[in-house]
Every structure is written in structure tokens, then in C-alpha cells.
Symmetry: C2
Subunit: 161 residues, 2 copies
């Protein structure tokens, strides 16, 4: 009998329109590292796996070892790019799940200093759904990624207001 407490939540997958724009956002703006990618020429899609590396961690050098590396982690972000959407004038964009029909809500990132992180996002012209000083909760912000998916931003440990 397999023991389910040994399972782990490995990744969350969202579809993206343009890998150039989105990889730039998750790497430069959010500080993630692209640790693996898998291209499927038959299905005409590419999968990109990103995560935060801990100090001293390095992405392994071979495709096979990167595969083992990414699929033993927790909290990885998988981006699926169906080829052609980035230049298709008829492509209507992806649904972020927060308007009807609702479902998926957001991913959330922890930062060390919420105010400093939001100031930095502002300087980088990131789109805000909710700034820290808006709404009822002043200890979270919401930004969007290039496809419009919501990203909650909160300080590590989520201190009370």
C-alpha cells in the first residue's frame, strides 16, 4: 500500500501566450530561475519549469539530471506555451479564473519586505490589481503576470497589520 503522506505537491501549471515576455517577467521581475524545459514537437507546445533556488543550489548541467531535479521539488511553476499564440491575431488570451467562469484564483509569492517589493514592482511598471493601501487588508497586494493571472504578494510569515 502506497502511503499518501509521502506524496508532494510538485507544480502548478498555467498556460501562457508568449514565453519571451512571460519568462522575462518570472525571471527578472519575480526572481525565479528557469530550471527545465521540455519541447513537444508533435503536440506543438513547450513546457517551462521555474522555481526559486536556495542558496548554493545549482541547476544540474544535463537534461536528464535537470529532469530529476525539477520533479523532486515542491512549489514549481510550469508554464505551457502552445506554439503560435504569441503571433496569432485571433488568439483571445487566457482566462485568469477570477471572472466568470471562476475557478483558479492566484499564485502567491512571499517577499522579505512588502513595501519595498511593491515599490520595486511599481518601478518595473508591473500591473497592480490591489495595492497595499487599497481595500480592507493592508498586508497583501495583488499584481498580474503578462497573461493577466493574479499573483498575491505578502511578506514572509504574513505579519498582522
Amino acid at each position: 500500500m502506497t502511503d499518501p503522506s509521502s506524496y508532494r505537491l510538485n507544480h502548478t501549471m498555467i498556460r501562457i501566450k508568449d514565453p519571451k515576455v512571460t519568462l522575462d517577467f518570472y525571471q527578472k521581475t519575480l526572481g525565479m530561475t528557469l530550471i527545465h524545459q521540455m519541447e513537444n514537437s508533435q503536440g506543438k507546445f513547450t513546457l517551462y519549469f521555474l522555481d526559486y533556488l536556495d542558496k548554493g543550489e545549482e541547476v544540474p548541467g544535463t537534461d536528464e539530471s535537470r529532469r530529476g531535479f525539477v520533479f523532486s521539488r515542491r512549489g514549481v511553476l510550469e508554464l505551457t506555451h502552445n506554439w503560435g499564440t504569441e503571433t496569432d491575431p485571433d488568439f483571445k488570451g487566457y482566462h485568469n479564473g477570477n471572472k466568470d467562469p471562476q475557478g483558479f484564483g492566484h499564485i502567491a509569492i512571499l517577499v522579505d519586505d512588502l513595501e519595498a517589493a511593491c515599490k520595486r514592482f511599481d518601478e518595473l511598471n508591473v500591473n497592480f490589481i490591489k495595492r497595499v493601501n487599497e481595500g480592507r487588508m493592508h498586508n497583501i497586494a495583488f499584481i498580474t503576470d503578462p497573461d493577466g493571472y493574479w499573483i498575491e504578494v505578502l511578506a514572509r510569515g504574513f505579519p498582522s497589520e
Copy 2:
């Protein structure tokens, strides 16, 4: 200047219809632990945070310490329950993002033994989208949670077929 490489991917949020059914699924079938919950009576919703605990880890005893515990982790699952959906005959259910309009795709769990895990899911009458022996890839399966969200199941390290 805040250093984005210190950020971490803390959680993924999905909306759920019935916490009784869904908590049962994520805890008993998928082996997760409910580590924190936050009720918002003004907004009429409850947030449930689940994760896998490592050996020796324990959920802290106080609400404040659980809060610090959950919001410093990576790979947490947040379930949002808007009160009343579980008994509302007009509630149409949540959208899993894989039919139009597409967006979010799935979460993925690592298991030690894919075949044994799938056999166990079968015994527990879990709904399969794709069994290991279906489709082109024989090293992954897809199941659904009670709301119909897709969950990829793969062996740790994702060995080639």
C-alpha cells in the same frame, strides 16, 4: 533594493464548492495536512491551507504560530470556500481551466510508486482523466478533485518510460 531571488512561491489558490468533501479528498486520498484556516465572516468565505509535512514536522498549536508556519512554506494549496455553494441548487460549479475559456491547467503531485498510487486511487473510486496506460505518455496519470480540477500524478524524479 529588495532582491527578488529571495522571494518564494508560497501557494496556489483554487475555489471549491464543498469543504467537507474536498478536505476529505485532499487529506485522505492525497495525504495532505490541513495546517491553517482563516474565516472571514464579513466576506462570507473560509480559506483552508494544506501542505505535506516532512517527517518530524508538526503543525504549531496556536493560530498565530500556524500563520507564521504556513506563510513561510513553498508549495501550499489554498482552498477558498464561499459559504453556501455546497447547498445552493443554482450553483453551477467551478471552472477547471481546461475547457474554454482555458487558462489554469492543473496541479501535480509526486508519488513514490505511480502504479501503486493509481491502483490505490482506483480502489478509492477517484475519477481518472487519463490512466497510465492511456494516451502517449505512460509515465503520468491525471485524476480530478471533487470540483473537477485536474491533478497530474507522476513518480518522483519523473523517470522516462
